[in-house]
Symmetry: C2
Subunit: 335 residues, 2 copies
């Protein structure tokens, strides 16, 4: 065991000079001075070994992902990242682990101008808790934050990027499926090093009527929008399924899964997979050109996958427009 103490650990791995913060790591509190006319968006995620990541995960990727899942919440809110705190429980001080963990974390932080301003370290079962702060403008007295509660009947429903690859990778890593190495590599990158859609979230301010990030599976997270907006929706299952990047890759390369996954697997990955960290959002049909412009400006593909409706509940249509009877429970950490 290393003799590196708590304060040395913070200084060596996590102390960055404060730039945007008035005061960063090293006092009882960090100090942030939000700009006039802005609101502070705050989100918090805790990652536990064996639950949110495998013990074998590359620590660089884990550092990246721990912040990425929090930045994804800011993205869903349309917030501009500002700063974060990191609380870390470690079974022991393992510098071979801490070095790449801090590098992965701070590389993503730097890429988004999101500053580490404080935190806590302690000994204990591995646990990573990040609280992230972002800025949302207030225009003419109206917050520009994207909420879950703003979807209206008639709105289009969109999702960014691709879906289901992280879930596919997890099935392979758990030995439930075998795929060519190149497919696993690509899918695993989605699982272990997700890219939060921060630029798209900001570009959608004033355009999207509601938004959420897809962390627990498309249908489960859509359920939150429907519940909080008091609406229902119809989703084209085949469009969502077509967004599995590994599927297109396999089709184009002529590769085959062994064993061949059933259609239900494809649906499960795309609709209930979780760990996608894409943005799911609604916008009125009158804003289609603006949505396309936001997608282009943020260099993030978006796909229209359905429609918000007044009728409560969630309807899944297959390629023939028939109602699919499947139900996909969202991932719930306590069920």
């Amino acid at each position: 065991m290393s003799q590196l103490g708590e304060f040395d650990l913070i200084a060596r791995y996590f102390k960055h000079p404060a730039r945007r913060a008035v005061l960063g790591v090293g006092d009882d509190c960090a100090l942030l001075q939000p700009r006039p006319g802005t609101q502070l968006a705050i989100s918090c995620d805790m990652l536990v070994e064996g639950r949110h990541f495998l013990p074998t995960v590359d620590p660089f990727c884990l550092g990246h992902k721990a912040l990425a899942v929090n930045l994804s919440d800011l993205a869903a809110c349309g917030a501009t990242p500002l700063a974060f705190t990191l609380a870390l429980a470690l079974p022991q001080v393992d510098e071979a682990w801490l070095g790449p963990f801090a590098q992965g974390l701070l590389a993503l932080a730097d890429a988004h101008g999101c500053e580490l301003v404080g935190g806590d370290t302690t000994r204990g079962p591995l646990n990573i808790c990040i609280t992230v702060f972002g800025e949302v403008p207030v225009l003419n007295g109206r917050s520009q934050a994207l909420l879950r509660s703003g979807a209206r009947p008639g709105d289009d429903l969109y999702v960014s990027g691709t879906l289901g690859d992280a879930a596919l990778a997890l099935d392979v890593l758990f030995g439930r499926l075998s795929v060519p190495a190149a497919v696993l590599d690509a899918a695993r990158l989605r699982l272990e090093k997700p890219s939060p859609r921060v630029a798209l979230g900001q570009a959608l301010r004033g355009i999207a009527s509601a938004a959420i990030d897809v962390s627990d599976g498309l249908l489960g997270d859509l359920g939150h929008i429907l519940q909080q907006s008091g609406v229902g929706a119809t989703v084209e299952a085949n469009i969502a399924t077509s967004l599995i990047a590994s599927k297109s890759y396999l089709a184009s390369s002529g590769g085959q899964f062994e064993p061949q996954p059933a259609p239900a697997d494809w649906h499960r990955w795309a609709l209930a997979g979780g760990d996608d960290y894409e943005l799911l959002f609604s916008a009125p049909p009158s804003a289609r050109a603006e949505v396309a412009a936001a997608a282009q400006a943020s260099q993030t593909p978006v796909t229209r996958i359905g429609q918000i409706e007044a009728l409560p509940g969630l309807r899944l249509l297959d390629g023939q427009g028939e109602l699919l009877s499947h139900r996909y429970p969202s991932f719930d950490h306590f069920r």
Copy 2:
């Protein structure tokens, strides 16, 4: 195991209507709108079972303490509490535990007008991570935050309340010492249900030159002030030791410890005990009347225990003004 899901759990135990926050629990982010002319003070503490609390601790007290240690950081900064996030890893959903835990947590939160605005729950080894937000005024372009770095040679050194009782209680609970039940009850309350000195911290804005909260032991935490202020200090060990409340109680009641603790024990509890959550602060001698007024206004006793000096290092004097050779390592979670 309960069938209570993650979202039900949040709704049942932790969802309070948002008052000060623009948006509270239940979206991707909480939204806070700091008042113009203020800075946001942010602090974060993680509590791990077996490290920061015993498995046998009363969950009501644990909920209280988890927030108290964070409010204590705000107090040390002179900040007014605003809001907090809670991330909670639980081995299982135990409603008999969650109920009192949430009650203890929210009772202290309500007492300080500090609102639960968001967080995360997951399954995992018991871990409580709170990030707290407070407000500090900026007057004439100068932040009123109390920092560790402002102590100047000649400043008086003060500590609030009493010291060492939490450490004494821990020795009893670990079977290293036996004391009368009434003494343990009082000392244990300090260990398990500390009172953060929030009112004193705010009252010291513009008066104290530096401040820190005593969480790792008086001397260790003083070391942070000395290091960050580039100064040294002399502390009257006997004055600090006289602040152990249980000691006065025993003396007045004529009670005896069995076995009688050695003088080194008294010193260890008062000087290096930890878990006191008192404020340690410096102020120029010209501000003695203002310090006394701040103590009175906040109904918090403060005691002058020494002096800041230009000579680096920390000198402990005994009752005869002789230098004590003892060294008390501060509590460091990784040593």
